[in-house]
Amino acid sequence: MDTFLELRDIDKSFPGVHAVDHVNIEVGRAEVHMLLGENGAGKSTLMKILSGAQQADSGTIIYNGRKINVPTPKRALELGIGMVYQELSLVPTLTVAENIVLGSDIAKNRLGVLDWDSIDRRANEALETLGVNFDTSKKVEELGLGKQQLVEIAKIISHEADLIILDEPTSALTEAEQEKLFNTINRLKKQDVSFIYITHKMEEVFELGDRITVLRNGKSINTLPAAEADEDQLVKMMVGRRLENQYPKEEIEPKETILEVKDLTTKKLKGISFSLRRGEILGLGGLLGAGRSELLEAIFGLREVKSGSILLDGKPLNLRSPVDAVKNNIALLTKDRHNGLVETLQVDENITMADIEEISNSGWLRLTEEEKIAEKFIKELEIATPSLDQHVKFLSGGNQQKVVLAKWLASNADVFLLHEPTRGIDVGTKVEVYNLMNDLAAEGKGIILVSSELPELLSMSDRILVLREGKIVSEHDRDDVTQEEIVANAAGASITD
């Protein structure tokens, strides 16, 4: 393989963190190089150094046989290096088309006036190369997270880079969209484009990867061909120890009913009825738009209920806002973690956000109490942060997710609505989250789990309800259901067509 890019001895520290520790990596032409590692291992930082978004403290980048400097992302693009960031970098108030052409110069005609026809054409072409198609005149903020991710990817592809860096690109994509992305990658590979691909999903590693590099604590542990790697070995390299069981589900005898939903009808839900017992993990399956989010949001007081009722411990609730929900000890972990965090606040301040009563006395904060609670959860969830005072903005994505989880654990809720609780979290930490779910169940909490990762849904739920078009279409016990059945029920008629 002819070496196309070489990172030599790259080193970078932040206050209190040695984020990238003298890392060496080589990437060949037309190679898909997978970059693995736990949350906070330094993957994003290393790649930001390559894309010009961050500067290394020391080290050399050899690209196409020359030593290069990448002071800015713009320079990186000129050199043919494009990156899709983990935390997306689109302008929410601009349209899809505007975002895609942003930063390129073909969009102006000779007089310097924007040429809207060519902007639209170019945006549509970019989406087409990805095999997706949607209205490019929509504002980005009106799109879901998955669509935003696609726009960002399309934008980088449209720059015709020779090296494309993708930082957890599929974390919000549906199966179908993911498949389209993979096809695009394979097609571009044939045109000699190289990729560095960061992911926590093992299927992707083996489906796409040519070679794999594992980072741990900022250091490069090993680089090996994907064909010679197996999952256990990779996990061990990432975590530093063996993982016995990826889905450590504990059987817990469910107790009395805690939450009951009767004939619930909202704009998107049509007469949903089910009950959740203490100690039970109830999984919700279904395709995007089937009404799973709407159901969680209705139980959290974010949706107008047209008819039907929600009962907690047998008492009907009148939920007009999240204030009411949290007062009744209901917690919602949102799908998009940016809705769960105030990035300009500190780690401890975020952890106690939903539990302010616990740490305050008629309006005055008890900061030592706050520190105690925060420290407890930082330790329990192994949140990697140099201190309690660190602003959440500076944590790696997975650690941010852990902070959101810590917030709800600290709030002493009785009902946990978990929407993709392990998104963007590494394997080792996933197991910790599952163990936490077990603990919560054992304490008699009720949990509703929405997850698009079917193995997770099937392994961790005691019972699974499948939703389609706002209705419950089937109910399954964990012991006798397969992924295929869930998928078939979720897709419904369209699969038998």
């Binding site: 959290f300 999240p322 929900a325 769960g340 300009t344 956000m353 520190e371 930082i378 330790k379 140099p386």
Partner: protein, 328 residues
């Protein structure tokens, strides 16, 4: 573990040390302390009268009113909002207070004035937080209406039959310290405490940082956001009390430039206009910068028309300096 170690480190310091360090950090990170020091150094060289204790007492007295309403404006800007009605709320509450003083007595009149300021601010706040109207427009409307009512109520004349004893609040001394200075520093200190040690302060920062996240944590964001505006109104009225006491009359056209002075001081002090970031210590420095400039220009007898030009240049320069510093 590394995180527990660093936690112990901060605990081993005495509380005073901690607070001192904290103030130092906050002021330093607001960036403008250096321009202030440079300014003081330059003026000391130019004018021999500048670097005297008496003159500093003067400066503090001159900025006291500005400091009070700038603290209020900082509360609003920290939520990510803006309030351009500070001067109008100040004038409206002041003329009513002064008008009522002969009939209801001094103390009740002051309370009524403060209550009016708080209510007007709260009205702004509810319009913004609850009705989701744009803050700039809501407070612009308040600015026009409250100012107009101040003129209507007084017929355009100053209200001046107020008791001599009331003047104490504007020009009295407690020991060697002017009363307005004590009040304004008290407001600053209480503001700092509220922002750091109360749920209100926590949520003000939170709302400015990410309103949705705070709301989804089950917090009544409308209440806290509206309260920030209410506090701004209250402090505008308090500033009005002191101005009235100093001038011995309440003038309906008073404090026209107040909101802009406040916004300039707050932003120069390092508070982010998009909310969520900044501290009152920085705001204090921002207010001082303007005070020192006016004072210095007066000592050098620069005509007042020129003074505004200088202020404009300083605002621009300070912000530019701060951005360049942040980038490097």
């Amino acid at each position: 573990m590394s995180e527990s170690k660093s936690v112990e480190n901060t605990e081993s310091k005495s509380p005073m040390e901690k607070i001192g360090q904290n103030v130092y950090q906050k002021v330093k990170s607001s960036g403008v302390i250096l321009p202030l020091i440079l300014l003081i150094a330059a003026l000391s060289i130019i004018s021999p009268d500048f670097l005297t204790i008496n003159n500093f007492k003067n400066i503090l007295r001159q900025v006291s009113v500005n400091l009070i309403f700038s603290v209020g404006t900082a509360f609003v800007i920290l939520t990510g909002g803006i309030d351009v009605s500070v001067g109008a709320m100040l004038a409206f509450s002041a003329v009513i207070m002064a008008g009522l003083m002969p009939t209801v007595g001094m103390f009740p009149a002051v309370l009524i004035g403060l209550a009016i300021g708080f209510s007007l601010g709260l009205f702004n706040g509810l319009a913004v937080a609850w009705l989701k109207l744009p803050a700039f427009i809501v407070t612009l409307a308040m600015m026009l209406a409250a100012r107009a009512f101040a003129f209507i109520y007084t017929g355009g004349y100053p209200v001046s039959n107020i008791p001599m004893s009331f003047r104490f609040l504007g020009s009295g001394y407690i020991g060697p310290f002017p009363v307005p200075v004590i009040i304004s520093l008290g407001v600053l200190l209480i503001g700092v405490l509220v922002l750091k040690y109360t749920t209100l302060g926590r949520f003000i920062y939170g709302i400015g940082g990410n309103r949705d996240a705070v709301k989804l944590s089950g917090v009544n964001v409308i209440k806290y956001e509206a309260l920030a505006y209410g506090i701004n109104g209250l402090l505008a009225a308090l500033a009005g009390v002191i101005m009235t006491a100093r001038l011995s009359s309440a003038v309906p056209s008073i404090a026209e430039s107040a909101p802009f002075d406040a916004i300039a001081a707050v932003v120069i002090g390092g508070v982010s206009l998009s909310g969520g970031k900044g501290s009152l210590w920085g705001v204090f420095v921002g207010v001082l910068i303007f005070g020192v400039i006016s004072n210095g220009l007066n000592l050098m007898s620069v005509p007042s028309f020129w003074q505004n030009a200088v202020r404009g240049i300083v605002i621009f320069g300070a912000i530019l300096f701060d951005r360049l510093r942040a980038r490097s």
